[in-house]
Structures are given as C-alpha cells and as structure tokens.
Symmetry: C2
Subunit: 377 residues, 2 copies
C-alpha cells in the first residue's frame, strides 16, 4: 500500500467496499518498465483498468494503448490519445467495431484466424495487421493460450494472405499468459516468433514489428523476478534472434502498471466457525467477493495480500469468502489465509495489489450489492 | 422461447446482447408452483432477477420474497411488498443491514452460526429466526453446501440459544442446491430437518416453520422431473415426518420462476477454425460471455439451449466462447455444442432459459463492454 493510499483511507474512511488507486504509482511503474525495456513501446492494456484518471496520466506520459473493444478505443480517444497510439488488440472484433475504429484513424489490428483477417480486409482496407501466435503459457497464473493465437504454419499462410488482401502485414505477436513469472517463457516465445519473422521476410513480406504481449508479473504474496530481469532477458533474446536489425517492439502491460497501485478496502461481515466446533475451520466473510470484482480468485489463481489492524497478533488459517448467497463466492479455501484470531465483524480489511482486473469484473448488482466504489488519487 | 418473446425479437430487433423476459411467463410459473405445492408459501429468491417488473408482478400475485441484502429488501418494498412478506435469507448480513431491515418491519432472519445469531439478537431484538442446516447437494448443478448451513447438533444448540437471547426460534431451513434434479434430495433433507424439529419441540421450543429452500430445476438441454413430482414428494415426505401437525412451509424458488421466462439475444462476432486446419475445432465467439452475465457457465455447469436461424441444416461440434480478451471467457468447450455449419459472424443467436442469474452477474464493463440491456415485456 502506498503512503498516499494509506493516508487517504485513514483520513477519509470511505464506505466499503471500495477501490483506491494511486495514480502516481502507475506513473512510477510506467517509468520502471520504460527503464527495463527502453527499446519497447508500451501499449497499456486498457482492460486492466480503464478509469479515466489512469488513461489521462498515461497519455501525458506518452503511452500507447492496447484496446479490447470499440468502447475502450473511445475511452482512449476521450482521454486524449491519438488513433495512432491505439492498437485494436482483441482477436475477436465486431465488424461495426472494426469500421468505427478504422474511420477514427486506428491503424493497427490483431487477428489469429482467416475469418477475422478477412473481416479486417473488408472493413479496414490497407490497415496494418499482426498475427497472434499461440505460445506456451506454463508459469502463468492466468493462462490465455487456449482461446487465442494460432500455429506458426497457419500464421505464415495468414500473413501472406494479409498481403494478398491489400493489408499491411506489419508484425507478429504472442502472449505468454497473465502474471507470468517465468522469464524463459518470453525467451522461448521470442525464438519461435523470430523464426517465423525470418521466414516471412524471406518470402518477401516487410514485417517491422514484434508484439511481446503482456504478462509481466507483480508481487502478490510471493516474490516475483524484478522487471529488470525480464527486460534483460527479452533484450538478449531479441538481439540473439534478430541481430542488429531489431524490429519495433511492443509490450502490452496491464497488471504490471496498475496492479500494485490499487487497494480494495473492505469490511468483515461475519467471522464464524462453520459447524460451531472450536476445531472447525474459521470463515471470514468480507463485503466483497468474486462477483464484486475479485473474479481472478477463481480457482484461487490470484492471491491478494490481506492487511488487517490486528496484524502481528495471534493468527490462524482462515477461509476467506464473499458476502453473496452464491456457493462459489469463496475467495480462498483450499489454500487458507493466515489471519488474526482477533478479527471481528465490522473490522476493516485491506486487499493489496488490487488495482488491475477488479473494477470492471465487478457485477452490476449481484445479490443487490452495488458496484464497487472507485477512488483515484 | 415464448411466442411473446419471439414476436418482440422479430419486430424490434433489439441491439445485442440483450435479455428479454416475458413477465407473463413468470406469472404462469408462479401459478404452476402454487398448484404443485399448495401448502407452501412462495418466497421468490430476488437474487435470481431483481427487475422491478418481475417484483411488481409477483407482489400482485401475493408472493413473498427471499432477499439476500438490504438493497434487495429495499427493491421489494419499492415494488409494493410489505415487510411481513420479506425474509432476510442471507446467512451473512451486515449489522447495518439487519438494523435497517428490522426497523423497516422485516421480521424473519436466517442464520447458521453463533456469531450471526448474536448479531441478530443485538440488532433485531425479538425477531423470528430460523437456522439453516447443511444437507447433501448431490444432484445439483450449482451446489451451495460448502459455504452455507450447519450441522444438526450445532443447529440444536443455536436454536436453544436463540430462545435464550430473546429471539423467536421460528423454524429451520435447508437448501438442496440450485438446479437440483434429484427429488430424493428433498426427501432426505426433510427427514433430517424433521428429526431436529421434533427434538427442539421436545426441548420446549415453539417451532412453526420449515423453509425448504429453492433449487427446483428447469429444463435446459436435458429433461428434468416435472414440478408436480417434486410437489408430491415434498408433500408426502412432510406428511410422513410431521403427520397432521404440519408446520408452515416456505419455498424459495428463483430459477424456477424466472429462468425459462428469459432469452438472451446475441450476435456471432467470429466463427473460426483455431489453427486453420479443416479438422481443427470450430469456435463460435458471441458478443456475450461469462463476464457479460453467463457466469453460471463456469465449469460448464449450466448449459443453455442455443437457437439459430440455421437450425436443422448440417451441423457440427462447436466451442462457444465470449468476446473478451480473457482466456477463461469460454462457455462450452469440454462438452461442445452442436451448431449449424452455416453460422457466420453477424448472425443472431438466441440463448434460451436465461431469465435467471444472468442480468445481475453481468460485469459493469469488462473489456469495455456495456452491461446487458434488459427488456421486460
């Protein structure tokens, strides 16, 4: 938790549940990533948190933007981004969205299938396109490889087709999975993409870009490699495979920029021993759960650090659950959380590193609960 | 799909994705349930769909309401329900919510832990309370037994404690799990609750109510037993265990009343063969997914029937996925859906029996997509 968030919470005691984001911290993370990957252009993955104060700040810093929908493109434009700073990074786009984006001046579109490529050719003639490859997602806490990306062989054919359709076959991309803690995942993916890049160049295409995707991890409860190490490894792998003729490099960080900038402040609704026996597991129910924004706790994938006013006192293993009548609204049960035994209903609890993928996953009103309040400071 | 919805869709062609609910059909389902369980008082589980037109219609029909939060209680009161018609049916309630409900006249509260009971005693003195038992959820597509309910032994102690705390120990409840297709689940649960009921009565408590929960299934792709069979089995089990001295019976249907009253109208965004090979699995991406309201497709638990304009033509196994950049936003992959090969992007597709647990699970704006539009006709 940054000092600014800590001060905001103690001075304002905002109603719970709420998300507080330190926008200065986002700027610091942007600078750190820029330092670690000086040759890469940063395309912020808007989906991680599309709040206007974040977009405005990133526009001021010269960031580009990776948008998942026409709505996100509109948000970026409203925040002052130019169309040239926007990549339409969803491999699944409505025709109406492609058209509107192209008419607005957006000129960078991803695809991973012939059908999507043809849609782009028809509705954004001449646009720059890049093909997403499927790569290993081992080591990622939130894998993305089942739904997106295609094979090297297929990508080769599609890139040639892109040229034949009058599009500009601009580059290749991959995604190693979100919250990827293995540096070698990037190295292996770069090796794969470089081979295809070379083959396509030999076939006469003027490829100029490699999009390394996102996935850079942040610290939740466990240490992760520093971003410098990712930067170094990516730089070395790119030089090894492309020599001095480096293509333009794009990265699409979301979690890395905004995750650690946010804190969810929540209230304990109930502490109970299920079944009543002293040896029964202790459950703590918060006023936010999986459907209030903590969707990434599905399968207990993302494990947010928990802070309470009783930290340091006697503690015990605890199941953490949400407030709804839904049986799957449990945050951590298989791997319990160590929480103070003094915790009682009405106590405030802070969930750290919740700046990414929380505010927009939040349901419109499941069980009647209002959407998460957001404070950008 | 009811004729009214079919007509609405063809005449209005509402923008997709949207949910269309036939409120008359809700009334028909209410009447059918009333017929099947004439002795039970129906408490509509508001969480299934809290839309005002549904609440208004059910108020007109004399329904009572099972509310999960103070917000749902306010919705019921706004729709014309009296406080006496409302049960505060969440075992996890904020103190402020208990107080507001009690002050508004709500006088029926559930609990399943000592801590929650004590909260009710302090903040709703003298209120009627009932204890939720944990029962087997085998046979349910959406189980609820891990998070809620307590043991018979614990419930016995808690009900005595309720009396000692000056509360009115009014009854017992259970929930066999949502979309419960096994009639015997109700029979077993009634046997269990009846034994405890008898023991508590012998201990001097004036128990008067058994809340049978919800869970009554609707037809998705597979046939389910008719509601008459559930009604008959429940009636027989109650008579067998309670004789002529039947307590007041409550049921809390949600899905049963509104599920089949709703249709989600959606548009195909992309049809592709992942990897390009003709033998590769075919994927159909819709403009609604798990985070647009179809949360119950998690683990492929609830399988909505799919209707297209090409039905009856040649078809094949298809993966159905949502439009977001999230790797888990896949509706059906392990058990594929048989869909027409003629399906193309831009085609409309209807997802049937989506009236329950869709509109409120919908995210506020994941990937920038606006919340589901709703039409109540």
């Amino acid at each position: 938790m940054t000092p600014k968030i800590s001060r905001f919470l103690s001075e304002n005691r905002p109603a719970t549940p709420c998300l507080v984001v330190d926008v200065d911290h986002v700027a610091e993370r942007y600078a750190a990533l820029k330092d670690a990957l000086p040759l890469a252009q940063i395309y912020y993955a808007v989906k991680a948190n599309p709040a206007a104060p974040i977009l405005h700040r990133l526009v001021d810093l010269g960031s580009c933007f990776d948008a998942a929908s026409i709505e996100e493109i509109r948000m970026c434009l409203s925040a002052g981004a130019t169309p040239q700073q926007i990549s339409f990074g969803n491999t699944v786009k409505k025709v109406s969205a492609i058209r509107e984006a192209f008419e607005a001046g957006v000129n960078l579109f991803v695809f991973d299938s012939e059908e999507e490529l043809d849609k782009i050719a028809r509705n954004a003639p001449g646009a720059r396109v890049y093909c997403r490859l499927v790569v290993e997602n081992d080591g990622a806490d939130w894998p993305l490889s089942r739904k997106f990306g295609t094979t090297v062989k297929h990508a080769y054919d599609l890139m040639l087709r892109a040229g034949a359709l009058g599009l500009d076959p601009y580059g290749l991309s991959f995604h190693v999975g979100s919250q990827q803690t293995g540096i070698e995942a990037y190295e292996a993916a770069i090796a794969k993409v470089a081979m295809l890049f070379t083959d396509l160049s030999a076939a006469g295409l003027d490829l100029r870009m490699v999009n390394l995707g996102g996935g850079f991890p942040i610290r939740y409860r466990d240490d992760v490699p520093e971003i410098e190490r990712f930067g170094l490894a990516v730089g070395q792998a790119m030089t090894q495979h492309f020599g001095n003729n480096l293509p333009q490099m794009l990265v699409e960080p979301g979690r890395f920029l905004v995750g650690s900038a946010g804190v969810v402040s929540t209230e304990v609704v109930l502490v109970s021993r299920r079944g009543g026996a002293p040896e029964a597991p202790r459950w703590v129910y918060l006023d936010i759960g999986r459907f209030g924004g903590l969707a990434e706790t599905e399968g207990e994938a993302i494990r947010y650090p928990v802070r309470t006013a009783h930290d340091g006192t006697e503690s015990g293993p605890t199941v953490l659950a949400g407030p709804s009548c839904d049986g799957v609204d449990i945050l951590y049960e298989k791997r319990k959380v160590d929480l103070p035994l003094a915790l009682r209903d009405g106590d405030r609890v802070e969930l750290l590193s919740t700046g990414a993928y929380v505010s927009t996953y939040c349901s419109t009103g499941f069980n009647g609960f209002a959407p998460l309040q957001e404070h950008y400071i």
